[in-house]
C-alpha cells in the first residue's frame, strides 16, 4: 500500500558530477530535471544483508529511488553461492549460481551491496556454468552486475549525493571489491561527496578484516587476531564510524566493535549515502 | 638414481599433457649480441658523464664510498689513505694486467705488503698461499669490468690474475675503473652478458661473474641492518678521470 516515508524525497533532483567515461545509454539525472530514460535495476540483496542487515537494502532502495532509478527485487533470491564456492563445493555452488542466473534473467542492471558477491557473479559464474545450458546467460549476468558504488559512479555518473548523514567516517577496502574488482576510488569519492561527511583515511585500509567467510569460523582465533589489528586502527583513526561495501566485513568489524564496546559503528556505504543514520 | 633420458622423457610427457596455460614468450634477445654490445659501448662513450653521476648516487645509497682521481697515477694515494684509516698493513690485489696498474712500488714504499693474484694457475701451494694472503689482508683491490649506474653495482669477472676472493675476503673492497666501464641499465647488462657468452672461453678466463652492490649485509637479527657479515664491510669505488 503506502510507499516508504522516504518517497517524498524521490522527486528531488540530486546534484551530481558526471565523470568522463564511456557513454552510457541510460544517463542519470545529472543534466538537471527529469532523466532522459528511466534506469531499471534489480537488487541482489545478498544472503547476509537479507537476513542480518535488511536496513542496508532499505537504504539502497531509498538512495536509488532518490536518484530516479526504478528498483525491482526478484523474490526468492537467496545467495550468490560464494560460501559454497570458496570452500570448494563447486557443484553445489553451481546449483546456486544456476538459480541466481535464472532469477535475474532479463533485468537491465543488477546492483549488489557487496563487493564479494558482485565478484562472485562477475568473475566466477561464467566458469562455474561453463559447458552448461546457462553458460551464455551467466556471462550475460556477469556483464550486467555491479557493486553499488561502481553502479552509482559508472552507470549513473553520480559522485555526490545529498544526505543527512554527518560525521567523521573512515573507509575499509573490502578485499574482493579492492582486488577482485579493482575498486578503491568510487566509494571514497562518494563518501567525500556527502557534504556532512569528513572522510579520514584508515591506516592499513587495504588490509583484510579477517572475515574471509568460513575462514572466520574455521580459524576463529586467527580471524579474531586479524580483526583486532584492524579495529585498533579503526579506533586510532578517530572516526565515528567505519564504512565498508560488504556485509561480511561489516558483520566482522561490527561484531568486534560491539564486543569491545567501542563507540565506533560499522555502517554500509548505502546507509551513509541514504542518510538514514546519524541525522 | 634416475638417468637423464628417463628424467627428461618424464618431463617431456608432462609438458605435452600440460599444454599451454596462456600464450607466453621468453625475453626477446638481440639477434647479434656482439653488435648490440658494440652499440651499447658507443652509446656509453657519449653518455658516461650522466652514468657516472647516477652511479655515484646509487653507490652511495647502498653505503658505497666514492672517490675520483685525475689519473691512474693518483690511485695508489687513495688506497694508502684508506689503508691508513683502517690501520691496514696488508693489501691483496688483482694482477697488473687485470687491474691496469702495478700497486706494489707505491704501496710497499708506504710499508704495506701487497699480495698479487698471479696470472699463473700455480700449484696447490700457490693457491693456498694466495688464500692466506687474501684472508689476512684488510684491503682487496680489483678493477671492475662493468659498472652499472642504475643500481650502483660493480660487475667483476673472475679469471687469470683476477681471483674471486680479492673482493670477498678482505674487510674493505676497492674497485678501480674508468669511463670505459660505465653502463646505465640492467637491460644493457643483459646485452653485455649475452655478448660475453657468445664465445665464453675467449671472452672470459674464469668461471664466475659477481655483481656487487654495496657491502655484505644482513638484517637477520631482529631486522637490524648490519654490514660485513661474510664479505667486505666497506666498498670503495675509485673513478679515474676528470671531466
Amino acid at each position: 500500500m503506502s510507499a516508504s516515508a522516504n518517497d517524498s524525497r524521490s522527486e528531488k533532483t540530486v546534484p551530481a558530477r558526471v565523470p568522463a567515461g564511456p557513454p552510457v545509454p541510460s544517463a542519470g539525472p545529472s543534466k538537471g530535471g527529469e532523466p532522459q530514460r528511466r534506469v531499471d535495476v534489480s537488487l541482489m540483496i545478498t544472503c547476509l544483508a537479507d537476513t542480518f542487515f535488511p536496513e542496508v537494502g532499505v537504504a539502497m532502495v531509498t538512495l536509488l529511488r532518490r536518484l530516479g532509478v526504478r528498483v525491482g527485487f526478484p523474490e526468492g533470491q537467496t545467495c550468490c553461492g560464494m560460501p559454497l564456492f570458496n570452500s570448494g563445493y563447486h557443484a553445489d555452488a553451481a546449483a546456486v549460481a544456476a538459480r541466481t542466473v535464472d532469477l535475474f534473467a532479463g533485468t537491465e542492471h543488477v546492483v549488489v551491496p557487496s563487493g564479494s558477491c558482485a565478484f562472485m557473479v562477475k568473475a566466477e559464474y561464467p566458469g562455474l556454468l561453463a559447458g552448461s545450458p546457462r553458460e551464455q546467460a551467466a556471462r550475460d549476468l556477469a556483464s550486467r552486475t555491479r557493486e553499488l558504488s561502481q553502479f552509482l559512479v559508472e552507470v549513473l555518473g553520480v559522485e555526490s549525493v545529498e544526505s543527512r548523514f554527518t560525521g567523521k567516517v573512515t573507509y575499509h577496502d573490502s578485499c574482493h571489491l579492492l582486488r577482485g574488482l579493482g575498486e578503491s576510488r568510487s566509494p571514497r569519492a562518494l563518501l567525500r561527496g556527502v557534504r556532512g561527511v569528513e572522510l579520514v583515511e584508515l591506516s592499513g585500509a587495504d588490509e583484510c578484516c579477517g572475515f574471509g567467510g568460513s575462514f572466520s569460523v574455521r580459524l576463529p582465533e586467527v580471524s579474531a587476531a586479524i580483526l583486532g589489528k584492524k579495529l585498533d586502527r579503526v579506533e586510532q583513526s578517530g572516526a565515528d564510524c567505519v564504512v565498508a561495501c560488504d556485509a561480511g566485513c561489516l558483520m566482522q568489524m561490527g561484531g568486534g566493535l560491539s564486543r569491545r564496546r567501542s563507540r565506533v559503528r560499522a555502517l554500509h556505504l548505502a546507509q551513509i549515502l541514504a542518510g538514514e543514520e546519524g541525522a | 638414481m634416475a638417468t637423464r633420458a628417463l628424467f627428461l622423457e618424464r618431463i617431456r610427457r608432462e609438458v605435452e599433457k600440460g599444454g599451454e596455460f596462456f600464450p607466453a614468450v621468453t625475453a626477446s634477445r638481440p639477434a647479434h649480441p656482439s653488435d648490440a654490445a658494440e652499440l651499447v659501448k658507443r652509446q656509453m662513450a657519449e653518455r658516461w658523464p650522466e652514468a657516472l653521476d647516477r652511479f655515484k648516487v646509487e653507490f652511495e645509497r647502498v653505503a658505497g664510498v666514492f672517490h675520483r682521481v685525475a689519473g691512474w697515477g693518483d690511485v695508489p694515494d687513495v688506497i694508502v689513505e684508506i689503508a691508513r684509516e683502517k690501520a691496514a698493513r696488508s693489501v691483496v690485489a688483482w694482477d697488473e694486467s687485470a687491474l691496469g696498474l702495478d700497486l706494489r712500488p707505491r704501496l710497499e714504499a708506504e710499508g704495506l705488503s701487497v699480495a698479487v693474484g698471479g696470472t699463473g694457475a700455480g700449484d696447490e701451494n700457490a693457491r693456498r698461499r694466495h688464500r692466506e694472503d687474501s684472508a689476512r689482508a684488510l684491503i682487496g683491490v680489483t678493477g671492475a669490468d662493468f659498472v652499472l649506474a642504475e643500481t650502483g653495482t660493480l660487475i667483476l669477472l673472475s679469471g687469470r690474475g683476477r681471483p674471486r676472493t680479492t673482493s670477498l675476503l678482505p674487510d674493505a673492497h676497492i674497485a678501480v675503473f674508468d669511463r670505459t666501464r660505465l653502463v646505465e641499465s640492467l637491460a644493457q647488462v643483459g646485452i653485455l652478458l649475452e655478448a660475453l657468452h657468445e664465445d665464453p672461453t675467449r671472452a672470459m678466463s674464469g668461471a664466475m661473474i659477481n655483481l656487487i652492490t654495496g657491502p655484505s649485509r644482513t638484517a637477520d637479527i631482529e631486522l637490524t641492518l648490519t654490514r660485513g657479515v661474510h664479505g667486505p664491510k666497506d666498498v670503495h669505488a675509485i673513478f679515474v678521470g676528470m671531466p
Partner: protein
C-alpha cells in the same frame, strides 16, 4: 612433521607475544620496502608481466631447456645429476661426500636442501653441515626450522641469538646485532676456509650458458662457491630459464620484491668449476636437478606455483602469516605459496587444514612478482579435498545442508524464522553473544547481529 594439527599450532603462535610483535615489525618493514621500491619503478609492472610470461614459456619447453642446461654444464667440466625424489638427491650428495672424503660442508641458504632434509641425512652419515647464512646459522644452533623464506630467524629475539652464539663462541656476548654478527663472521670464516664442500641452491640457471645464479646479501654464497674444492648446487627443475636476457628481467624485480633492494648485495653467476688459470674456485662442480613432485604439476592444477621465485613477498602481506608466522604452517615452505608447494611436494592430503588457512583476501597475488594466482589455486585445492572426500564428513554434511537452504527459498525463509526463535536466549542489548556449538566459534571473540525481525524479503512488501 609435528603430530599437532595446524589449528592448534596456529593458536599457540597467537599466544606468543614476542612472535606477534616480531612478525608485525618484520612484515610491515618488508611491505613498506617493497612498496617504496616499486613506487619509484615505473617499468615494474611490465617487467612482472614479462617475468610471468618467461616462466610460462619456459615450462612449455622445460625438457628442452633442462637438456640444454645439462649439456652446457657438462661442456664446462661440471657434472649433472638427476634426482626424481628428495631421497635420491640426498643419496647423490652423500655418495659424493663418501667418494671425495668430505667431512665438513658449508651451506649457503637453500630452501631446496631444507625440503629434502639434507642436513639430517648428512649428520647421520657422519658429515657435518654448517649453515652459513646468518639466519640459517642461528636456527641451526637452535635446532629449529626457518620461519620465513628469506629471513629465517625473525622469530628470535637478539637475546636468544646472543645465548646461541655465546655458546659457540665460548664467551658471553652482548645482545647486540653488530657484536653477534662479528662473532659469527669470525667463527664461520674458519668453516669456509676449512670446508671440503660448499652446497648451494640456485635462484636461476641459465640454460644457454650453463650458468647457476645465486642471489644473496651476506657473501656466504660467494664463499661456498669460491673456497671449498667441491661445489654442489641443488636446484628445482622449475628454476631453469633460457637466456641471459631473461635473467636480466628477473634480476630487475626479484630483490625489489623480497627486500625492496634494487639488487641484492651479490648476484653470483657460476659457470661450472674453476677454469685453468684461476687461483681460486672449486675443482669440481655438481648440479643436481630435483623433481620431487614438481614435474607432476606441469600438467597439474598447481602449475602456476612453479613460477615461484621464492621471494617471500606473499608471506609479508598475508594476514594469516603475519599473525602466526612460519613455524605454525608445519612444513618447509610457509605462507600462501607454502601451502601450494606443500601440496605439490607432499600431496593434497597434507594440506587438508592448511588449504583453509587463508581468508582469500588476494594480497598475495597482488604482490607476487610473477603474478601467481594463489587464491584461485587455494580454492581449487579445497575443491579437490571435497571431491576426493578428504574434507571431514561433518563438514561436508554442513555444506550439503547449506546447499539445500540456498537452493530453496522456502527453506531459506524457514531458516531465518528458526534463527529468530532460537537466538532469543542469547540476545543481549540487540546483539548475540555466547552462542553454542559451531556458532560459539564466532562469538568467542565477536558479537553477532541477530537475525533481523523482518528480513529484507519481508520488508520488500512495504517498499514495493
Amino acid at each position: 612433521m609435528s603430530e599437532v594439527r595446524f589449528p592448534e599450532r596456529a593458536a599457540t603462535a597467537l599466544k606468543d607475544r614476542f612472535l606477534q610483535e616480531a612478525l608485525t615489525i618484520a612484515t610491515t618493514k618488508f611491505i613498506d620496502l617493497r612498496k617504496e621500491s616499486f613506487a619509484g619503478f615505473p617499468d615494474g609492472e611490465t617487467l612482472r608481466d614479462r617475468a610471468r610470461s618467461i616462466k610460462e614459456a619456459t615450462l612449455q619447453k622445460l625438457h628442452v631447456h633442462l637438456g640444454q642446461l645439462a649439456d652446457n654444464v657438462e661442456r664446462l667440466g661440471g657434472h649433472v645429476h638427476w634426482a626424481t625424489t628428495g631421497a635420491e638427491a640426498c643419496d647423490i650428495i652423500l655418495g659424493l661426500c663418501r667418494d671425495r672424503g668430505v667431512r665438513m660442508v658449508v651451506k649457503s641458504k637453500s630452501m631446496a636442501t631444507e625440503e629434502i632434509d639434507l642436513n639430517e641425512a648428512l649428520e647421520h652419515s657422519g658429515v657435518t653441515p654448517v649453515e652459513t647464512d646468518l639466519g640459517e646459522y642461528i636456527i641451526q644452533l637452535a635446532h629449529e626450522r626457518p620461519s620465513h623464506i628469506i629471513a629465517p630467524a625473525i622469530h628470535k629475539t637478539k637475546g636468544q641469538v646472543a645465548d646461541l652464539i655465546s655458546d659457540v663462541a665460548g664467551r658471553r656476548l652482548p645482545a647486540d646485532p653488530e657484536a653477534l654478527t662479528a662473532a659469527a663472521r669470525i667463527h664461520l670464516r674458519q668453516k669456509f676456509l676449512e670446508a671440503d664442500m660448499g652446497i648451494t641452491g640456485a635462484n636461476f640457471a641459465v640454460a644457454e650458458t650453463g650458468t647457476v645464479v645465486l642471489v644473496t646479501n651476506e657473501g656466504n654464497g660467494r664463499m661456498v662457491t669460491s673456497l671449498p674444492r667441491i661445489h654442489v648446487a641443488l636446484m628445482g627443475i622449475e628454476k631453469v630459464i633460457p637466456s641471459m636476457t631473461d635473467l636480466a628481467v628477473f634480476l630487475a624485480i626479484l630483490a625489489r620484491s623480497a627486500t625492496g633492494q634494487k639488487l641484492s648485495s651479490y648476484t653470483t653467476l657460476v659457470r661450472g668449476p674453476r677454469q685453468p688459470g684461476e687461483l681460486d674456485g672449486p675443482e669440481e662442480f655438481h648440479l643436481i636437478l630435483l623433481d620431487n613432485g614438481r614435474a607432476q604439476q606441469i600438467a597439474g592444477p598447481l602449475r602456476e606455483a612453479l613460477y615461484c621465485l621464492r621471494c617471500g613477498a606473499c608471506l609479508n602481506v598475508c594476514p594469516v602469516y603475519r599473525q602466526i608466522g612460519g613455524h605454525a604452517y608445519g612444513y618447509t615452505y610457509p605462507g600462501p605459496i607454502g601451502i601450494l608447494l606443500t601440496a605439490m611436494l607432499r600431496g593434497e592430503e597434507s594440506v587438508k587444514d592448511l588449504a583453509h588457512a587463508s581468508s582469500l583476501c588476494g594480497a598475495c597475488k597482488d604482490v607476487c612478482p610473477v603474478r601467481i594466482d594463489i587464491p584461485r589455486m587455494l580454492v581449487d585445492l579445497r575443491q579437490h579435498l571435497d571431491e576426493h572426500k578428504i574434507a571431514p564428513r561433518a563438514e561436508r554434511l554442513v555444506f550439503s545442508l547449506l546447499r539445500r537452504v540456498l537452493t530453496s527459498p522456502a527453506t531459506f525463509r524457514m531458516s531465518a524464522a528458526a534463527g529468530r526463535l532460537l537466538q532469543r536466549p542469547f540476545a543481549r542489548n540487540g546483539r548475540l553473544t555466547g552462542l553454542p556449538f559451531l556458532f560459539s566459534r564466532w562469538t568467542q571473540a565477536r558479537d553477532l547481529p541477530p537475525v533481523a525481525k523482518k528480513t529484507f524479503h519481508e520488508r520488500w512488501k512495504d517498499l514495493r
